[in-house]
């Protein structure tokens, strides 16, 4: 059998399985972010936002909308891969893939794009929710779609590495809770870093989430704290690095083969 055909069928099998998994448990995967983000829009956007006034030339609701969409894309693409891949390890169903003629890069791509699919679907749901509260005008459609896709790829790959190292369900939640959430909240979702004192502005520039949120905001609103195109290039570099690391770990059988 032709190798390319085998790889394509194997990849689509993994992807379909991933999509089937998160849609089957939609009440755990798709509904909570929709409710959480609706609360953010109501509380921060409507109630508190009306007292804050404009930020970056836009009302507060419009300003936080790209950040909230990006926040849900980041957390969902990451957590989809960590929970799914770790469950496969935990239940040993990953062995099915390891004994099959599926190369590591196909396994990795399948899981990552499964995470991307959930991230983007949740992003779409949150965007639709946002339309109930504010208007949406897209400044640069290409940049908007590219950055949201690449961000989902980056965090899904990060989630994969997390799952490879994880030995218990606690290990799956440590990074999202103690690293990802603070970085996201401090990544300019709710404010422009220009509001911060100089020292904190400088420190914020070390936060990778800031670049993604701002690039996405630039794609939608046309305003950003940083150079969006440079940020896009940086995201691409991070993807290459993390994907390479994940592939290397998978090839070595880290956490999978004895």
């Amino acid at each position: 059998m032709n190798s390319v055909r085998i790889y394509w069928v194997a990849f689509s099998t993994i992807l379909i399985k991933e999509v089937r998994r998160f849609t089957r448990i939609w009440a755990q995967t798709l509904l909570p972010p929709a409710i959480t983000m609706a609360l953010y829009f109501v509380i921060f956007g409507n109630l508190i936002g009306s007292r804050i006034g404009e930020m970056g030339g836009f009302n507060y609701m419009q300003f936080i909308m790209p950040g909230l969409i990006m926040m849900s894309v980041i957390t969902n693409s990451y957590s989809n891969v960590t929970s799914s891949f770790f469950s496969s390890k935990f239940q040993k169903s990953i062995e099915e893939m390891l004994v099959a003629p599926v190369p590591s890069w196909v396994i990795l791509t399948g899981f990552v794009l499964g995470g991307v699919a959930r991230g983007l679907l949740v992003g779409l749901i949150v965007t639709i929710m946002a339309l109930f509260f504010t208007d949406l005008t897209v400044h640069n459609l290409f940049l908007t779609i590219t950055v949201v896709f690449l961000t989902a790829v980056l965090f899904a790959t990060g989630g994969f590495i997390n799952a490879l190292f994880a030995r218990s369900f606690d290990d799956v939640t440590i990074i999202p809770t103690f690293i990802l959430t603070p970085l996201t909240y401090l990544g300019g979702v709710f404010y422009s870093i220009q509001l911060l004192p100089e020292f904190w502005q400088g420190l914020s520039l070390f936060n990778p989430v800031l670049y993604m949120v701002n690039t996405f905001r630039f794609g939608i609103l046309g305003v950003s704290d940083i150079n969006a195109w440079a940020a896009l290039a940086a995201i691409c570099v991070f993807i290459v690095l993390l994907f390479g690391l994940a592939l290397w770990l998978l090839e070595r059988g880290r956490g999978l083969r004895q």
Binding site: A10, I14, Q91, E95, E96, V99, A100, P101, G253, Q258
Partner: protein, 319 residues
């Protein structure tokens, strides 16, 4: 052609434990081969290396002539694996599990569906195809793993304790199924703790202990090595002491249960005649243990004893 060829296979785990000490083994195409050994002997490590779940430290493995170091993907297409532990997504539906496995092997849904249906029907799981795997009984889960392993029609099927925890009726129906698969040309390697199973199904056998092959021969040749068998006789009337029967070693287990060791070449009719002379009436007769079990225990005990001696010598020298 050799379905599986293992040469000088070694495995040392990260903690320094040497699980395989350079084993060599050949399994002929079409064979039904038993790989036996006590727990921790190295069976699962060997099979894990063959199907890529364990990394070898040294040696060569080839499957139908394909060296796993040269083209593992091609070698993997030839193998179907039924592992010891359940390893499917318990929330997945039965049919989806089989179809997903087929997908990993490069079979499209169109190709896989009829095969999955046939296998699920043959294994009595078709009615459960829409059930989540967690809802299945233990025996059904075992059969599901067999269906999954066969969906891509492998030439070599590895069964790692496929009937563990399965009731005797179901076990026998699984034996028939495995024999049929073997008749159709699939080479089967079986590990099991049910030695009766190995004796009934397998033509050739290897016994592994402490990471070394201690026996590798045909089942017939191995059973021919058995020098004596112990039979259990249920007596009609109770006895106080074990009767003295010339030429036979006897032991009274309880008042109506007599154990008799019969050496190779001894005539069982002679035993009955001698018992009859003493007016001892026998109601029924059975083997104390399966023949292979007796041999297995003696072989493994022998290596345990020699291993103990070796340790003693090492200790003395080092002191």
């Amino acid at each position: 052609m050799k379905a599986l060829s293992i040469h000088n296979l070694q495995k040392t785990y990260g903690n320094g434990f040497q699980a395989l000490k350079g084993i060599s083994l050949d399994v002929k195409e079409g064979d039904f081969f038993a790989l036996l050994g006590p727990n921790g002997a190295g069976k699962s490590t060997t099979l894990g290396i063959v199907c890529s779940l364990v990394r070898k430290t040294g040696g060569k493995v080839s499957i139908f002539g394909v060296d796993i170091d040269d083209d593992f993907a091609k070698a993997k297409q030839l193998i179907g694996v039924v592992p010891q532990e359940f390893n499917f997504g318990v929330f997945e539906k039965v049919e989806d599990i089989v179809l997903t496995s087929a997908g990993y092997q490069g079979l499209t849904l169109k190709e896989a569906r009829p095969r999955a249906e046939q296998l699920l029907r043959d294994l009595g799981l078709w009615d459960k195809r829409h059930a989540q795997a967690r809802m299945l009984s233990g025996g059904m889960k075992r059969r599901l793993m067999i269906a999954r392993a066969l969906v891509h029609r492998p030439k070599l099927l590895i069964l790692d304790e496929p009937t563990a925890g399965v009731d005797i009726e179901l076990r026998r129906s699984m034996w028939s199924f495995m024999q049929e698969i073997n008749r159709q040309g699939t080479t089967i390697i079986l590990t099991t703790h049910y030695l009766e199973e190995a004796e009934s199904l397998c033509r050739n056998i290897a016994i592994i202990d402490k990471g070394e092959i201690i026996k590798n021969t045909s089942m017939k040749a191995l059973l021919a090595e058995l020098t004596s068998e112990t039979f259990v006789l249920d007596l009609a009337q109770p006895l106080i002491d074990a009767p003295k029967v010339e030429g036979f070693r006897t032991h009274l287990e309880d008042a109506t249960t007599l154990e008799v060791e019969i050496k190779k070449g001894q005539n069982i009719s002679q035993l009955f005649a001698l018992l009859f002379e003493q007016k001892i009436e026998v109601l029924s007769l059975r083997n104390k243990a399966n023949r292979l079990e007796e041999l297995f225990v003696s072989l493994v005990d022998k290596t345990a004893a020699s291993g103990f001696k070796a340790d003693e010598i090492t200790t003395e020298v080092s002191v």
